[in-house]
Amino acid sequence: MAVIICSTPTKPLRAVVPVKGLLPLIAPSLVLVLFFAIPMGMMIGISFQSQTEGSPTLASYSRFFSNDLVLAGLARTVVMSGLVALCVTVLAYPLAYYLARATSRWRTVIFALAIAPELAGVVLRTYGWLIILEDRGFINSALIWTGLITEPLPLSKNLFGVVVGLTHVILPFGVLSLLTSLQGINPNLEKSAQILGASRLAVIRHIILPLSVPGIVSSFLIGFTMAASAYATPALLGGAGFKVMATMVYEQVLFYLDWPFAAVMANVLLILMLAAGFIGSRLESRLHQKLHL
């Protein structure tokens, strides 16, 4: 960058930039096109390929939408992601509210506790939940030891286990997006409401909740999209019986080598994400307008 600019050091920066300012873009754009745009384009192209003939076809798409197993996987993905988004938002809200308002020394500690697990990566945390939720794991062995149950509860290898694991993985993102929104609410608004006679509950109901709806929406959206495209946690905590889109795509690519079908699944997942993102951002801007923020 420095090299490009110093070739005309006498001209003012402003004058140099519009022409040459775009030169530094060449490298990142090239990388982006080569490693991202072309592969994405090709993947979309492959989804229209047929395994036998040369001309483009919708055969793989119709296979997708007539395959009950795959459709069940899609439905499972949507339900799982919705539940995860809900759990993330519900658990993140009190934490984010505390972080937005607290001034004590504990704030830093709790903030670190809430965010630091993100550094540990998904595998460590999923492994932890496997140990906890397994048939012979932490919870079941404790419950059997106390005599409350004799047979282990089915806590893993099912929807429950996956939702718990993913909620844990995604929670920090929910906290961060709610935190941004809650920090944007002037604390004096709460004080004003209180001095006008509002109880704690009334303050939450009339002031904090309505004003943080955009944060709630974005936390839900982050939860949904991250859950829907998560691979490791459903693969490990869901087991063979709990297939979602991400794990099914993986199998298509690496075991069945059915590329057009894998491309179709990837495209459906992509469209699901983009649709969720689009609806979410529309909703958010509508809310901003409605709340007169």
């Binding site: 960058m1 600019i5 110093c6 050091p9 003012p12 920066l13 519009p18 300012g21 775009l22 030169l23 530094p24 873009l25 990142p28 990388v31 982006l32 490693f35 991202f36 072309i38 592969p39 994405m40 090709m42 993947m43 492959i46 009190p94 709790i110 506790l113 809430a114 697990p117 550094l119 540990a120 990566g121 460590l124 945390r125 999923t126 492994y127 932890g128 496997l130 140990i131 397994e134 062995s141 404790a142 844990h168 109880s199 704690r200 509950l201 495209s229 998560a230 691979y231 490791a232 490990l236 991400a246 993986y250 590329w259 491309a263 990837a266 495209n267 997942l269 992509l270 994400m273 993102g277």
Partner: protein, 267 residues
Amino acid sequence: MNRLLTYLFRTALAAILAFITLPLVVVVAASFSPTSAVTFLPSEWTLQWYAALWDSRWLDPFLLSVELAVIVSLASGLLGVLGAYSVAYAKCPGHTAIMALLLSPMSVPQIVKGVAVVLFLSSIGLYDLLGTPGLVMAHIILTLPYVVRMAATAMFGFDKRLDRAARILGASVTQRIRYVLLPLIRSGLFSGMTFAFIISFNNIPLSVFLVRPGQTTLPITVINHLEYSLDPVLAAVNVASLLFILGAIILFEKIGGFSAQFHGGSK
């Protein structure tokens, strides 16, 4: 009434924090447990699993992951600065479009990017690029938007009057970039690169498509084992790699001093 609410709120907070920390505590405990069946609260402690880490079974994937993370954070740092510089300084009409383009990989789920890269390499017959080259390529696409965004934020935050002040004092363009711009965006850039390092080191959804026998990253190696057993050595691997990440962050912080940016910027 208010006291009850406060009490309820505190209890909820404590429960949520317990939920957050529980799996981490359990993994750390498991890494010291002598039996391979992981029970809750083992009665004896052992370091045997940590001793077992010194084995090419774990060392090779670890080294590959480190190599990958270093290459990826350096490359995305360089590319990110180039991109962010153009976006922040070029006053051309396409300015927001360029930014959107540079950030666009973010809106594509990782698993889809992984499929795209593996299908691309396979269908043009470049199977040989699976493994390290493919991993580098995919991870750069993953991390580039984050670095661009953090560097661009730092550059937009950069007070352009400082540039004018330096200019009126007679600094040339190169001098201004060298002595004014770079020092001021350094912390933003470094935090972007640290972020890239962590994302790359821990990545699963992209790597899972691109590894090949003999060139497998650490997280993928761990998952492959986890599908069959809960061997406590895996707990030791996980704890060790978490410690590695923490060490790396501290090191980067020493070099880049980016944490200042969480306390109100580098002024």
